[in-house]
Amino acid sequence: MSAPTPRRLTIHILRSAPGDDATPHFEAFRIDESEGMTLFIALNEIRANLDPSLQFDFVCRAGICGSCGMLINGRPGLACSTLTHDLGTEFTLAPLPVFAVIGDLSVDTGRWMRAMSERLETWIHATTDADLDAVEPRMEPALAEAIYEADRCIECGCCIAACGTAQMRPDFVGAVGLNKIARFRLDPRDEREDADHYALVGNDDGVFGCMTLLGCHDVCPKGLSLRSQIAYLRRGMAAQGLR
């Protein structure tokens, strides 16, 4: 069995190193495609063989940790779970917009997400500590599953990169933030009420800033139902606003 000639890929990568003088520019790298090649494999090959200074972020390389969000032909996605096979022989990679660029394809989502978490207080608010020796409080199985549905967000930043409002308003919490509020609203262990949620997202940096273009919904690598989470939250917050 003779192996078919591999495709020759030309990958245009937006290079930049904040602090250095050079303005961001595309640089082309050419490699041979291998079977089952992902962008994780391709980028590592470029770094190993063509340019050891190339910056990008991968951790789990399995689509689970959310480190490798980038613009792939202009569209936000996870590089590790993108097969080169699904792209043309020539394509572009660029860092996610909105987030501070660390260098090349690496951006600082961590600081952005932490600030969002602090602002929206994305944790369970309970007035008493749990008794760790006692049988746990019950929860309806379907409710636990519904909470997990929203809890699956991996904070990759793709929804922010795809969001018209986030590009214009630096304080907009984006789909990632709104989805978190939706998640904690569902959770009976969190004692906050809708009035508390309203104080956090009942404004133009929150749920009313969303222009319902829903780029977020289309690009979410985890397939979260951001459209319905946001719509549901918006109705709840509108009702709260009328009180």
Binding site: W123, A126, Y148
Partner: protein
């Protein structure tokens, strides 16, 4: 000179580090966490299958308790673990699950009534009692007598990590992201913090602390074929080793997971088999019952991985362009189950294999997965050799897992150890040993030493490629220090690793940038990873027996008479070429569960002279107190409660009462 002061420095923002940090913070101490990446990206996020804790809520968990969990863990470890630690762990695990529930983890819950499950390849109907409705449910995992693994679909680690990470934010604990501890500051007797490199700017800072806790995870990236994240390079263990004072233990105890997808090495959870999936060969034959009639696919991981490789060697592998593999078949679980409980598996199969696991079999082959060894600590998490240094999670050898860890016991260990060690760290800070006594001269000395090391790499004018040497090391470890080990191959590996270490003193780093510089990072980590590889390989070569995941073809029997010992590795002189090995005996006479057959795998262990005497003693103790409750009996056999922080000592309630 940049100096940063904090009471407690936690190196690592995975589950273990975060939970330890919360504990110390809640006791009023100032805590700072360092992480290579945003903490929610830590590898803990990748844990899929679940967390063991003996809640006994389900029908198949009925009768479970700390005793059963303890015994499963000891058998799983092939009697290599510290039984006191296993006791502390089994006792605290239910509290950890319940705490996580209170912090928001959406554990899957029991639904009362009947349901269809797959067991041993057959559809079976189970009935869950009304009493248990809405309590935390559990699935089956390898090497356990009961269904004990609590889960959140197959995103358990993700849900846990997000809850604990958000809890750390709630407690106001700062995480210094994209920072790497590259050396510990110490005076030979006490640890005073770490030298930390900013991975963006390249700046070095001395972090000075009363207590330093290493929670940096495992070192899977010593191997080419691994389920581990790319950041799991063992730097925490390596910088502890480089102190010359701290000790690593059981580094040769490396776990290989049966079901990494082939060839990418990405894991699909043991939950696939726990929920009823089976392994098949090229002919479609389910082969595990031929080798392991008792536990079949659900024997412990070391046993299943070995049987798979044995079956491949016997010529039953399926062929692909990348080599031989076997199949994992979960088609019998049905679409609804896979869509609900194995959705990460489904995504992974789609993204990386282009298949639908509800219809197609999954190509799998064992790959490196877990490091049982690590920084040797005592039961409180204090590192041997340096006061003020602690370790927890996969980076530590607390010694819960001995020579093989059970699935679901690792994420459980991270939070349980975090709960315990965080309190002991706070105790230290509140004692006179916790006083701030360090000198800035010491910090300056370590800073300039590390500056010099990095400078030498950047400007040393060497010729060797860091990437090429790293790749060679990883290939060598996978080929020679894998599932089946043999004296001559291990000796070859030692020889070559030493040669690689010599070459690694002469590296060429082309990128001269001081800040973000992946090439420089590879270069300095490579030198340390070679030291860890030597610890693993020398330990494996010296251990002339087979125990748990350490299997020697030339010494296939477990040898309790000679090898009921923990390997200790130190590196006292930076110039020495290989680690110094020493051994710490495990005391059979104080074991609650004396060595025996595991219930799966080989039965031909060479007995320790004390085993029979201790077994008789234990039996006599049980007989003499027929009326005693299980807790009193247990306390007589192996006291452990005094080692736990007071708030964790209470008995665990179970919905069905105490079994």
């Amino acid at each position: 000179m940049r100096i940063f002061y904090t009471d407690v420095l936690v190196v690592g923002g995975g589950l273990a580090g975060l939970r330890a940090a919360v504990g110390a913070r809640r006791r009023g101490h100032d805590v700072t966490i360092l992480s290579l990446v945003p903490p929610k990206r830590s590898h803990s996020a990748a844990a899929q299958g679940g967390m063991q804790a003996s809640l006994a809520n389900t029908t198949k968990g009925a009768g479970d308790n700390e005793d059963v969990h303890f015994e499963d863990t000891v058998r799983g470890s092939d009697w290599g673990c510290d039984q006191v630690v296993a006791r502390m762990f089994a006792h605290t695990a239910p509290k950890a699950v319940r705490e996580l529930a209170a912090w928001g983890v959406p554990w899957n819950r029991v639904t009362a009534g009947t349901r269809e499950v797959v067991m041993d390849g057959k559809h079976v109907t189970l009935e869950e009692p009304a009493l248990a409705h809405g309590l935390i449910t559990a699935r089956d995992f390898g090497g356990t007598k009961k269904w004990r693994t609590c889960y959140v679909s197959d995103g358990t680690g993700h849900a846990m990590l997000y809850a604990v990470s958000d809890r750390a934010i709630a407690e106001g604990i700062p995480v210094h992201e994209r920072k790497e501890a590259i050396a510990l500051i110490h005076d030979g007797g006490r640890c005073h913090g770490a030298i930390v490199r900013d991975l963006v700017s390249g700046d070095l800072t001395a972090y000075l602390a009363r207590a330093t806790c290493i929670a940096t995870g495992g070192f899977g990236r010593l191997y080419r074929s691994t389920t581990n994240a790319v950041i799991n390079e063992g730097m925490g263990a390596a910088i502890a080793l480089e102190t010359g004072a701290a000790t690593l233990a059981n580094m040769e105890a490396v776990q290989f997971h049966p079901t990494a997808i082939f060839p990418a090495g990405i894991l699909v959870t043991e939950g696939c088999r726990g929920d009823g999936g089976v392994l098949r060969d090229a002919a479609g034959h389910r082969f595990m019952p031929d080798y392991e009639p008792e536990k079949k696919e659900l024997a412990s991981r070391d046993v299943v991985s070995r049987r798979m490789e044995q079956h491949l060697r016997a010529g039953h592998g399926a062929t692909s362009p990348f080599g031989q593999h076997l199949w994992l078949d979960i088609t019998l679980l049905g679409t609804a189950h896979i869509d609900g409980k194995l959705r990460e598996v489904k995504e992974i199969c789609r993204n990386f294999l282009g298949i639908d696991p509800a219809r197609d079999w999954i190509a799998v082959r064992p790959a490196q997965h877990y490091s049982m060894g690590g920084i040797r600590t005592d039961a409180t998490g204090a590192a041997r050799g340096l006061v003020g240094l602690y370790a927890c999670g996969e980076a530590a050898c607390w010694d819960l897992h001995g020579f093989n860890r059970l699935g679901g016991n690792s994420v459980a260990e991270t939070v349980v150890a975090g709960m315990i060690v965080g309190e002991h760290i706070a105790d230290l800070c509140e004692s006179s040993d916790g006083d701030l006594t360090f000198s800035t001269a010491l910090a300056a000395e370590f800073l300039s030493r590390e500056e010099a090391r990095l400078g030498a790499l950047l400007h040393g004018g060497g010729a060797e490629s860091p990437v090429a040497l790293m790749t060679r090391m990883q290939t060598l470890m996978t080929d020679n220090v894998g599932i089946f080990r043999r004296g001559d191959l291990l000796q070859d590996a030692v020889t070559e690793l030493r040669a690689l270490s010599v070459r690694a003193r002469n590296l060429h780093v082309g990128t001269q940038r001081r800040g973000a510089n992946p090439e420089l990072v590879t270069a300095y980590r490579l030198q340390r990873m070679l030291k860890l590889s030597l610890c693993v390989t020398e330990g494996a070569l010296a251990r002339t027996e087979s125990r748990g995941a350490h299997f020697r073809e030339d010494y296939p029997r477990r040898d309790d008479a000679t090898w009921l010992q923990r390997t200790l590795a130190t590196w006292p002189d930076p110039e020495q070429a290989t680690p110094t090995l020493a051994y710490e005996p495990l005391d059979v006479m104080s074991m609650e569960l004396p060595p025996g057959w595991r219930g799966y795998g080989a039965r031909d262990a060479i007995e320790h002279p004390d085993t029979e005497r201790r077994a008789r003693e234990v039996a006599a103790l049980r007989e003499a107190r027929p009326a005693a409750d299980r807790h009193a009996l247990q306390a007589a056999l192996l006291p452990f409660l005094h080692l736990l922080p007071p708030r964790l000592r209470g008995p665990n309630a179970r919905a069905g009462g105490d079994a």
